[in-house]
């Protein structure tokens, strides 16, 4: 199959179209503008709709409306824009509407800057808006994986009737790598008999994101929790690499995940026993797999482009059985292979007594 | 035989009385018996005098009135 050198942002846009996405609503923000620029040309070619909204707030609610009709729909943004979308995401989760949101995250807090960062982890995986809900969160680390996970995001959104966030960052959005668009085959999905399309000859339907009856609202919440548990059982996904019996397990997602691959490779050349554990789904977090993988290691080093967000999920996953260390940069600073490797040496020298 | 008929849905009526002001003949009043929701619905006092204009039904915010005419 032909390989094309493609920018991450454009690759995700093309993959969305191939996955059947026919509506996009968004608002410009760096570093993800190529997604909307690409779709503004591409969607009309396939009879779809591209609409630049007046704000991220409006964009996510346009997504809500289109999702309610049963269409495959997406938006994309970065940090501050995704913050504005939290109201709508909470509604989408409450109404159990499928959609895909891409966050090519940047340095925060505040307006921050436009360089790559992973400091939106909490926002993405812990709900983000008000209420007891979760998004399905996927963390690609290469442009190819960005493509493959975009297909998967639309599938999971429909399968679980839940918004899915693809959490990338400025680096993944801006870089080019060769990609192929292998269209995956997913099991058939149930019909969208809940979609609002006008009642036709039948009975009327409605989609709401409120329930003023406490019992009713609790019931909805319990139903959502059952769905999240099911997700944890069925969809938790991760990648491992390196020594099968490592002394130190490196844990990182997305861009950092791939940097850690270089660290493991270089460390192993130097004779270190290293391995990588890279969560691909951030929610559901691959807790059980990480717990297993952590058995027998002397320590875990979590590396993130934030100051310790996924770190908390790693600590919860290993339940205190293994010491967990952390190395982080934020604000757009990207950790380097040599720096991380040095840190690993330091740990082996001082922190972890063999 | 009355020329017109006003049918009031006592359970829908909340006794706001806006119809009593709209009626040109002044034949609607608030009744003294409350409905199951605790409101005092309107009633027609003198159906013989109803012209069947429908104003009462037009202004009723609860759409609780139907009007028929010969």
């Amino acid at each position: 199959m032909e390989k094309i050198l493609m920018r991450g942002n454009e690759a995700v846009a093309e993959a969305a179209v191939r996955a059947g996405c026919r509506l996009y609503f968004g608002y410009p923000i760096t570093p993800q503008n190529e997604i909307s620029e690409y779709l503004s040309l591409r969607l009309p070619q396939v009879g779809g709709v591209f609409l630049q909204a007046e704000s991220e707030v409006a964009a996510i609610h346009m997504v809500y409306g289109a999702a309610a009709t049963g269409a495959r729909v997406m938006t994309s943004s970065s940090g501050p824009g995704v913050s504005l979308m939290q109201e709508g995401l909470s509604c989408l989760a409450a109404a159990e509407l499928p959609c895909v949101v891409v966050n090519m995250s940047r340095g925060g807090p505040g307006v921050g800057n436009i360089q790559p960062a992973q400091s939106d982890y909490f926002q993405a995986v812990k709900g983000g808006g008000h209420g007891d809900y979760r998004l399905i969160v996927l963390a690609p680390s290469t442009v190819q994986e960005l493509v493959d996970l975009t297909y998967r995001a639309f599938y999971l959104a429909d399968k679980y009737r839940n918004p899915v966030e693809i959490l990338g960052d400025g680096m993944l959005g801006q870089m080019m790598e060769p990609v192929t668009f292998r269209e995956p085959e997913f099991p058939p999905l149930p019909p969208k008999d809940w979609a609002i399309r006008g009642k036709g000859g039948g009975h009327r339907k409605w989609i709401v994101c409120l329930d003023l009856d406490p019992k009713g609202l609790e019931e909805l919440n319990l139903k959502l929790q059952r769905k999240y548990r099911l997700l944890e059982e069925q969809e938790a996904n991760y990648d491992t690499f390196g020594d099968p019996e490592p002394e130190i397990l490196l844990v990182g997602f997305g861009t950092v995940g791939r940097i850690l691959k270089s660290v493991v490779r270089e460390g192993m050349r130097e004779g270190l026993k290293l391995a990588l554990f890279r969560p691909i789904t951030l929610f559901p977090f691959p807790r059980a797999a990480l717990f297993e993988k952590a058995k027998g290691v002397k320590g875990i080093l979590v590396v993130e482009m934030n100051l310790g967000q996924m770190l908390e999920d790693v600590e919860l996953a290993v339940r205190g059985k293994v010491p967990v260390f952390f190395l982080g940069h934020t604000g757009g600073v990207i950790p380097t292979v040599s720096e991380i490797l040095e840190h690993v040496h330091g740990l082996l020298r001082e922190e972890i007594r063999v | 035989m009355p020329r017109a008929r006003v049918v009031i849905n006592r359970e829908f009526c909340k006794g706001c009385a806006l119809c009593t002001y709209a009626c040109p003949r002044g034949i609607l009043v608030i009744s003294r018996d409350f409905n199951s929701r605790g409101y005092y619905p309107v009633m027609v006092t003198d159906e013989e005098h109803c012209a069947g204009c429908g104003f009462c039904a037009q202004v009723c915010p609860d759409v609780a009135i139907a009007v028929y005419r010969e």
Partner: protein, 183 residues
């Protein structure tokens, strides 16, 4: 095993990102793993541009390098910023038309190419210094085959920019010849 980390830096308008892309596509056409990562945002709008291209035989992890093996500097600010970062023993390719400063480091291989002067001399001053530099680079160190670079140029100049293909082929030749005939 092939593994090149190439940093290309200059100012906006010099075709820095394009040069990187041609290299990456050429690497891809030869079946290698490649990645291309640009500087973006206000930095670029402020006039400077750089990108990192990695061509490798193994899966690419980190896509930027704090110690590139090959560094191309197309103007003086880039020279001062990036020359110190080059890996010892690495290659520093300097566009001496715009960089007057001399490299003090003795642990580097330095290739000097007066790209703007060459463009003036042989190509009517056409703005193809990036491709001249590419020609020189590939003649000095065959990171990818010249034929692959030519195919990559065709690939990157499809559509509206197709008419620039011949000019770029010439530019590649000018850079190549400059090195072949003894830089």
């Amino acid at each position: 095993m092939k593994h090149h980390e190439i940093l290309i830096a200059g100012f906006g308008g010099q075709g820095i990102l394009f040069l990187g892309r041609v290299l990456a596509v050429a690497g891809m056409l030869e079946g290698h793993e490649v990645s291309w990562y640009p500087s973006y945002g206000p930095e670029m709008r402020g006039g400077t541009a750089n990108c990192t291209v990695i061509i490798s035989d193994e899966e690419i992890g980190a896509t930027i390098s704090d110690r590139p093996g090959v560094c191309i500097v197309m103007n003086e600010p880039s020279f001062f910023r990036f020359a110190p970062t080059v890996q010892p023993g690495g290659l520093l390719l300097v566009n001496t038309s715009l960089v007057r400063a001399k490299c003090e480091r003795e642990d580097l291989e330095v290739l000097s190419v007066p790209a703007n002067d060459l463009a003036k001399l042989y190509l009517d001053g056409a703005e193809v210094t990036n491709t001249i530099i590419l020609g020189a680079l590939l003649a000095w160190r065959p990171i990818v085959q010249r034929e692959s670079a030519e195919r990559a140029l065709a690939e990157c100049l499809r559509g509206k920019r197709e008419k620039l293909y011949t000019l770029n082929l010439k530019a590649l030749e000018v850079g190549w010849e400059f090195v072949e005939k003894g830089a």
